[in-house]
């Protein structure tokens, strides 16, 4: 009896310890927090555009020719001026205005900042083009007709209470000072709201996977783009019975001028491969975007101007996912600001790619009703227990205002630390089978992910080995390319859904 008790005492730690560690891992996963080793890792890298002004030829001859250098310098100050105004209204700090504004414009900008602190008003100039009206012969006064796309919104206690985007036309007068051009006066002459028409949703039900290549997930996808691997992986998706892949267009890779061109070309190749394989694509925009302040929105529009021409002309786009799990940024970045940003990016996307349906991949069905009037498809992620999966779909449908509901991420990790805990390949297959069963009546289901990974990006999931290990094993295919049991489950579910 004593010996049996001692044996049990020796075994218990080996059972308890993995369970305890697994619990820690799950807790960390659910918190979605990151621990940084260095403060610089936590800070958002911000691309600063020198000038986002598009120049239009003057209608009449100017007293002085506007040179390329003049345009560059005036464009820089206009770009900086609107960034500063947006930042000042957001922060209440008006001191940064003096770098760009003087005279009447400075007085008005300062007044708008003080009003913003009372009313919660915000402005973000998203695009601007300038046509010279007047240039003084000695180069000291420059007047331009400025055409902008401008977002204005009001926030209050985490709520977005008004939002509008307009095409504005105005007259801006700049004066050359010893430190360069400054905005002396700006007056708006007209405003026209963006005319946004929703496209019709006419897609068949979507069945597919979220996709990164096994060796090059997250940030490495576009940096080590390999056509042959992508082509082979899309064959895997077809083999699973899928008709769609969800991909992620990382923010920096499509914004950095040194990489954007190559990545746009690679995106075109990927869509061409998808066309040949008869697969649809859900591109998820702004992936790993670091900040959402209105001062940076004009840069986001440049990102859209880069990727949307490719997406707008492709027939393979099922819908555009504006931002992955945007609701997870509500707390850190202020919900109202995120909602204003989302509505702005939706509007700009719709204007630049009017035929493409738009969605937001919410992290939970609880958000399925958020911005539903702006979207064409409701999409959310469901990683909970199968019983929650069914409830989640029901809730999403209730909130969706009649829009199709796509569950764009489901799945389970097969990572096993010890004794089949916290997961196993068999358990992963069972969870997926149950989830897919519960979601049979949705407009689409996408599994997270096609592949297991050797390594996951620590800048995405933090340095915790638990989180990272769990994330390595959500795939339907192992790192060596062999199928996991979950793949067979998915194939069966997709083929039966397709038959239905």
């Amino acid at each position: 009896m004593i010996r049996r008790t001692l044996n049990l005492a020796a075994v218990i730690p080996f059972i308890i310890l993995p369970l305890w560690l697994a619990a820690i891992a799950f807790e960390a996963l659910s918190k979605r927090q990151m621990t940084y080793q260095y403060i610089s890792d936590a800070l958002d890298p911000l691309s600063v555009t020198e000038s986002n002004v598009k120049w239009i030829k003057p209608e009449a001859m100017l007293a002085r020719q506007l040179t390329t250098a003049d345009k560059k310098r005036a464009g820089e100050v206009l770009t900086a001026a609107w960034q500063a105004l947006a930042a000042a209204q957001s922060t209440g700090n008006e001191y940064i205005l003096t770098d760009s504004f003087i005279g009447v414009a400075l007085d008005r900008a300062q007044k708008s900042v003080s009003d913003a602190s009372v009313h919660g008003g915000r402005i973000a100039v998203l695009q601007q083009s300038a046509q010279p009206l007047f240039f003084h012969k000695d180069g000291t006064v420059l007047q331009l007709e400025l055409q902008t796309v401008t977002a204005r919104y009001l926030v209050s206690d985490q709520d977005l209470i008004h939002h509008q985007i307009t095409h504005d036309t105005g007259v801006v007068t700049l004066i050359q000072q010893t430190r360069g051009w400054r905005v002396f006066s700006y007056e708006r002459r007209s405003e026209v709201p963006l005319r946004l028409i929703k496209p019709r949703w006419n897609r068949a039900n979507l069945y597919g996977v979220n996709y990164y290549p096994s060796d090059t997930p997250w940030r490495n996808f576009w940096r080590d783009f390999d056509v042959q691997i992508i082509s082979r992986d899309m064959d895997h998706v077809k083999n699973l019975g899928g008709n769609v892949v969800r991909i992620f267009l990382s923010y920096q890779d499509f914004l950095d001028p040194t990489t954007a061109g190559t990545n746009i070309a690679n995106l075109t190749q990927l869509l061409d491969i998808a066309r040949k394989k008869r697969l649809l694509v859900i591109p998820t925009l702004f992936d790993l975007k670091p900040s959402f302040g209105p001062g940076t929105w004009a840069i986001d529009v440049e990102y859209l101007e880069g990727v949307l021409p490719v997406l707008a002309t492709s027939n393979q786009i099922a819908f555009i996912d504006i931002k992955n799990e945007a609701n997870l940024d509500f707390v850190a970045h202020d919900k109202a600001e995120i909602l204003a940003w989302l509505r702005t990016m939706i509007a700009l996307t719709r204007e630049l790619s009017p035929e493409t349906p738009i969605s937001i991949g919410w992290s939970s069905s609880a958000h399925a009703g958020t911005l539903v009037d702006d979207l064409d498809v409701v999409s959310y992620h469901a990683f909970g227990a199968p019983k929650d999966t069914e409830t989640g779909l029901r809730r999403a449908r209730a909130l969706s205002n009649g829009l199709p509901v796509v569950v764009s991420e489901i799945g389970a990790s097969s990572y096993s630390f010890a004794f089949g805990l916290p997961g196993s390949e068999g358990r992963q297959a069972r969870i997926l089978r149950d989830q897919l069963k519960k979601l049979e009546n949705s407009a689409g289901v996408l599994v997270w992910t096609l592949h297991d990974f050797d390594e996951v990006d620590p800048s995405v999931f933090g340095v915790s080995p638990w989180r990272r290990n769990l994330q390595t094993a959500f795939g339907l295919y192992r790192v060596d390319g062999s199928e996991k049991p979950a793949a067979r489950v998915v194939r069966q579910a997709f083929s039966s859904s397709g038959e239905n």
Partner: protein
């Protein structure tokens, strides 16, 4: 209605609270019962008040007499800082003339000819009782039309002296003086094709350059360049060098070696300078017995010093000294006995 008002019914979650929203060039805010100064800002539906502020800009700040056209503008605002109404007329008083112009997008402008007289001028812009502050512009001489003329020498230049080359008056086609500070070039081309370059600056409507006359016994041709114009060449003559006075020549007996030491100098020019170091000198001594010995060398500090193998007692001696300043001759009839110290020179 100066601002564009968007009436939006914003329903708060707790009930039907409607608030009007106003947008303008600088943002968005709630319309409140209190008067907001932003309601006076010109916007989509402008209602501009009378002009209240005129900001003058005139340029370029330096105009060339009779050539450049100036550009005077008025940037005009009403009392609330709105750009003035299109079509409003403004009077520009430029120098002694007056022109009018009408406003477009808050700017009235005139192009004007600056006149032919150099100097500082003022511009004032007005509309009824409203006047701008004064703005100034300058008219400068038409440098390109200045024809430089070098003043000819009244006497030949002397070697090893400074000579001043002068160009004046520097006047443009309208009689305006060239402003101080402008640079010019004077080139003196020597007889062997080499040249000397001087770069004086204008001061008090004149150019002046000091030139050290050295190694150019034949003078040269002088030409001035200023503002793209060149003067005619003028001949610069150099007076030949001459001795100021007879050169002092002393001799000392060196009986122990049966020689004499001769020191000649200082060799002075008519200008009072010693002949330069390295100038060649040749000394020939003819003794009483008929021997003749010649030594050549170079001056140092104006002196030529040499020891000649002539018996000190072979008198009288005729000493000939030849330098760049000419030939001189003296006769030595006696030499003092020497203990070969520095004393005991005879002549």
């Amino acid at each position: 209605m100066r601002v564009f008002v968007v009436i939006c019914l914003l329903f708060a979650t707790n009930g039907a609270t409607a608030q009007a929203v106003v947008t303008d060039a600088f943002g968005i805010y709630f319309k409140t019962n209190t008067v907001n100064e932003r309601s006076n800002w010109s916007d989509v539906s402008p209602n501009i008040q009378n002009s209240a502020l005129i900001l003058p800009f005139v340029g370029p700040k330096s105009l060339t007499a009779g050539k450049d056209r100036g550009h005077a503008i008025a940037l005009v605002f009403d009392q609330f800082g709105n750009l003035a109404m299109n079509g409003e007329a403004f009077a520009f008083k430029i120098g002694s003339s007056t022109q009018t112009s009408t406003i477009q997008n808050g700017i009235a402008e005139v192009h004007f000819a600056p006149g032919v007289t150099a100097g500082a001028f003022e511009v004032g812009i007005s509309n009824g009782d409203i006047q701008s502050t004064r703005s100034t512009y300058r008219v400068t001489a038409d440098i390109a039309s200045v024809k430089p003329a070098v003043i000819a020498q009244t006497q030949d230049a002397k070697l090893e002296t400074f000579v001043e080359f002068k160009i004046e008056p520097l006047l443009d086609q309208f009689g305006n003086s060239a402003p101080s500070g402008f640079g010019a070039q004077l080139v003196l081309t020597h007889s062997d094709g080499s040249f000397s370059l001087m770069s004086p600056y204008v001061q008090n409507s004149a150019l002046a350059a000091d030139f050290l006359v050295r190694d150019i016994p034949d003078g040269g041709l002088l030409q001035a360049s200023f503002g793209g114009q060149k003067s005619t060449h003028i001949q610069v003559n150099v007076a030949p060098m001459a001795l100021a006075q007879s050169t002092h020549i002393s001799a000392r007996a060196m009986p122990s070696i049966r020689a004499i030491e001769i020191v000649a100098g200082p060799v002075l020019t008519a200008s009072g300078h010693v002949l330069n170091d390295g100038a060649e000198a040749r000394l020939t001594v003819g003794s009483g017995s008929g021997r003749s010995v010649t030594q050549t060398g170079w001056l140092r500090d104006g002196y030529f010093k040499t020891v000649m193998a002539i018996e000190p007692t072979d008198l009288p001696m005729i000493v000939d000294l030849a330098t760049a300043l000419g030939n001189e001759q003296i006769v030595i009839k006696s030499l003092s006995a020497s203990n070969e110290t520095n004393s005991g020179f005879g002549q």
